[in-house]
Every structure is written in C-alpha cells, then in structure tokens.
Symmetry: C2
Subunit: 231 residues, 2 copies
DNA sequence: CCGCGTTAGAGTCATTCTGACATTAACTAC
DNA sequence: GTAGTTAATGTCAGAATGACTCTAACGCGG
C-alpha cells in the first residue's frame, strides 16, 4: 500500500492585546471527528488530489475545512516518519499561512473549528505530530530575516507604525523601542508613508503607512512560494 | 493511480581553486539511462520505501547511486507540480547534503556518475526540474544565517582559517578580508583554536582550528534535521 | 478656553559593529 | 643572509544600534 499524501496548514493571525498588553499570535484548529485521535484538535488539511499542485491542495483543504482564504502561503516542511500516524503510513506536506488582522475570527460557524492563542494550554497536545509542526512554524517565523512582507500580510493594506510594531513584538516576544523601530523602518524603503492619518483615536492621530514590494530583487521572497487558488 | 513519492539530494562539496583563484562549489550527478530524460544528468535519488523515513530514503538512495555518505543532511523543499514529470505524477522531497573536502572525488567508479562545478555549462540543463532544485539549494545555502557548522561539515575535523575563509568565499561568491574574517570568527566562540599548526607549506605555518558545537542552544540547528543512516 | 494626559514623531549621544588598511611575525627558497 | 609569501595583530573612520530626551498634536475634563 503506497503512503497517503496529505497537506496541513499552520495559519497565523494577530489578535490585539488586552489592556495595553502585547499583541498575540493565534491560529485556527479543527476538531477531529474520526479516529485516530478523535476529539483532539488538529491542523486543517486533507489529502492531495491527483490534478492539483501541493500549494493548491493546501489552499483548497483550508477553505473547505475552515472557510479561510489566506493571502500568503509558504511551504514549511514535509513530515514522513513511519509511525506518525498509528493506522497507516502518512506523509504530510506542511504549509504556513498568514491572515489579515480583520479576518481573524471570521471563520465558518462550526463548533469543530476554533481559534486559539499560541500559548493556550488547551492545545499543548494536538492530534498526530501537529504540535511539533506548529512549534516549527513559530521557529521559522521568528528566524525570518525579512519581516517586512510578513508583517504587512498580517495587517491590512494600510497600517500605523504602532500596529506594525505590535506584529514584530508578537513574533519576537519582546517589546521594541518605538523611536528606534521607526528609524530602522524608515531606512528600509519597503515601507512607505501615505498622507493619510488614522482618525477616531483619543490622542494624536498616527500616520498610515503601506508596504511597497521592492521591485527587482529576485531573492526577496522564497522563490518557490506558492500562491493560493483564486476565488 | 496515487502519486509516486521520491527523494532527490543536492550534495555540495568544495573544490580548491586553481592558481590562487577562489574555491569552487561542486556536486555529483547521475546520468539517466531510462526514459524520461534519458542521457541527461540528474540528482541522485529514488523512491521512498515503505519502512524508512524520508531522511533515511535520502541517505540510502544516495549511497546506492553514488557510493557517497555525507555527514550532513537537511530537508530542502518538496516539489509536486502536476507536470514536472512527463509520464506520471511525481512528488519529490529534495534534500541538501554537504561533503568533507577530502571525499570530493571519492565517488563510485562509474561513467554515469560525475562531479561538476556549480557553474559548469554542461549542467545548465538537467533532467526534470532538477536544475531549479539545485538553484534553490544554492539560494538557501547563501542565505543561511549560521555558516559555522555548515563550513565545518565541508572541511575536515581540523582546518586553517584560510581554508574556512575559502569556504565562505565559495558560498558567498566574493573575497573576504582575512583580518576581519579572523576577528569575527574569534568572537563567535563556535570555532576554537588548537595548539597544532599545519606543516609542509612554503610559508609561515597556519594554526589549526576546530568546530565546537555550542552546547545548550536549542535553536542552533534546524530542529528537524535528519541524520543519515549509519554505516 | 485652557491645561493635562497620551501617543506620534524627531533628535541626541554613547557604544558597538564593520570595512579598509597598516604592521609585525614566521616560515621557505635561493 | 635576503627576498618572498602568508599568518596574525593592530589601528582608525564611518555605519549601525540601543537608551534616552524633547517637541507636536490630538481628546478630554474642567
């Protein structure tokens, strides 16, 4: 019997911190209703179809199980140890996705789908080796050399520097000096100031910025990044 | 028909430069004797067995086709586009290996196995999408944040700073200042000076150094690095 | 209307890091 | 011994970084 080929996706979003606390990373999980590991929470995913690429399979299974359509999808790692599933040989290609902040929580209404904070004790154990996959995704995210585009995928089209700094702080797990953060971003040229300001706050309105991909830099992104299916 | 699951490995070694020129990266390839792509050079590899992990499959197929047993093996990427093989659906997990410099050239005596310089025009085209895989391996190598252990895998147990600098120069593709190179390495603490010197040269004998893995640093290595089979 | 609290945004300063270059040490070849 | 070559150390200026201060612009409560 040939091994089963499947995809699983770690989707990360940002949840705003409460009471001035730091922002938090969170992710949606699916409760398993079949054996093995029935009842445990698992990463969304499913088998790879015969007529779709691996990235397409990741996007499709993600939409089917959670209703989410992230705008960033990157291959993470392929897990193929013999005993990772108790019933059969299972090879899983894990993907890594990021969501806009305004879509966090906009999941299908289903009691078997839920968002968890990354450090929620409920998901200290997960189905299969999925906890290991999540930890690896976090390790990869924290070791990214280029956060610019990652951050703007977690936020919307326009964002304040404070929001962007919140993303960095959530990823890195420590507070950053606002002044120095501003200085470094101003020198990267991948973040551009707009002439708009965010109104409605109680204090001085912050300027809105937007991300501009830096044109002819072939090694900017993982060159094999896979786009999710459209529509 | 389920997809065929295979592994392929990009093995990189260092070849000393001629006439004071820079060192060069090179890799062994296998000539295909069957269709499709018969006659073209390809990465060593083969199908994944039912009772072996993916890393074990990479090590096994590598030894079988080339006789090489590298001491560093890291998963690279999984290629699964529908049309990457003209005859059937083929999903390949690509691995990345490094060889000691004294083993470069110590390949099985076979006219269908040969080492090529990384920029050899003979391998501008390769079987399947293997050229793309090689380019991706090079991109990953050049973007490594931590060269220390990578470099010492390409060299032997003990090495001179000049040899280590040659590795860095071959990977990065540019010359480095010897004095500054020495300074930075002295401050990393992962390279340790021995009290031995390399004799036999025509000039002042250089001190030998060795790599010391830095104990309790859990994120030092890719946590999912797979060890090749022993023996 | 006016001060106050809060956050946005600009600026300062000392320390560290980096690249470029100069200098001395130790060997071989002749 | 002298020349030639590489190893190893030292110096210095400019860039990058972290900690901190200072001013600007808003809402709010009197």
């Amino acid at each position: 019997m040939p091994p089963t080929l499947a995809v699983s996706t770690v989707i990360l979003g940002i949840r705003e911190g409460v009471e001035g606390g730091p922002d938090k990373l969170c992710l949606p999980l699916v409760r398993r209703i079949r054996q093995p590991h029935a009842g445990l929470w698992a990463l969304p995913g499913g088998p790879v179809g015969a007529r779709e690429s691996l990235g397409q399979a990741a996007g499709r299974t993600l939409a089917e199980t959670t209703g989410l359509r992230p705008n960033y999808l990157e291959q993470l790692y392929t897990f193929g140890d013999i005993d990772r599933s108790p019933t059969h040989r299972l090879v899983t290609i894990a993907y890594f996705a990021l969501m806009h902040v305004d879509q966090v929580g906009a999941t299908v209404r289903d009691e078997n789908v839920a968002w968890f904070d990354i450090d929620d004790p409920q998901i200290a154990r997960m189905a299969f080796d999925h906890r290991q996959i999540v930890d690896y995704a976090l390790w990869r995210l924290r070791n990214k050399t280029e956060y610019g585009q990652i951050a703007h995928r977690l936020l919307g089209e326009r964002f304040t520097l404070a929001a962007l700094r919140g993303v960095y702080e959530a990823i890195l797990g420590r507070r950053l000096d606002p002044a120095n953060f501003r200085r470094t971003l101003n020198s990267t040229a991948s973040i551009e100031a707009t002439d708009e300001y965010q109104a409605g706050g109680k204090h001085r309105p912050p300027r809105l910025y937007r991300y501009v991909g830096h044109g002819p830099d072939p090694l900017q992104v993982d060159p094999l990044q896979v786009e999710p299916p459209q529509g």
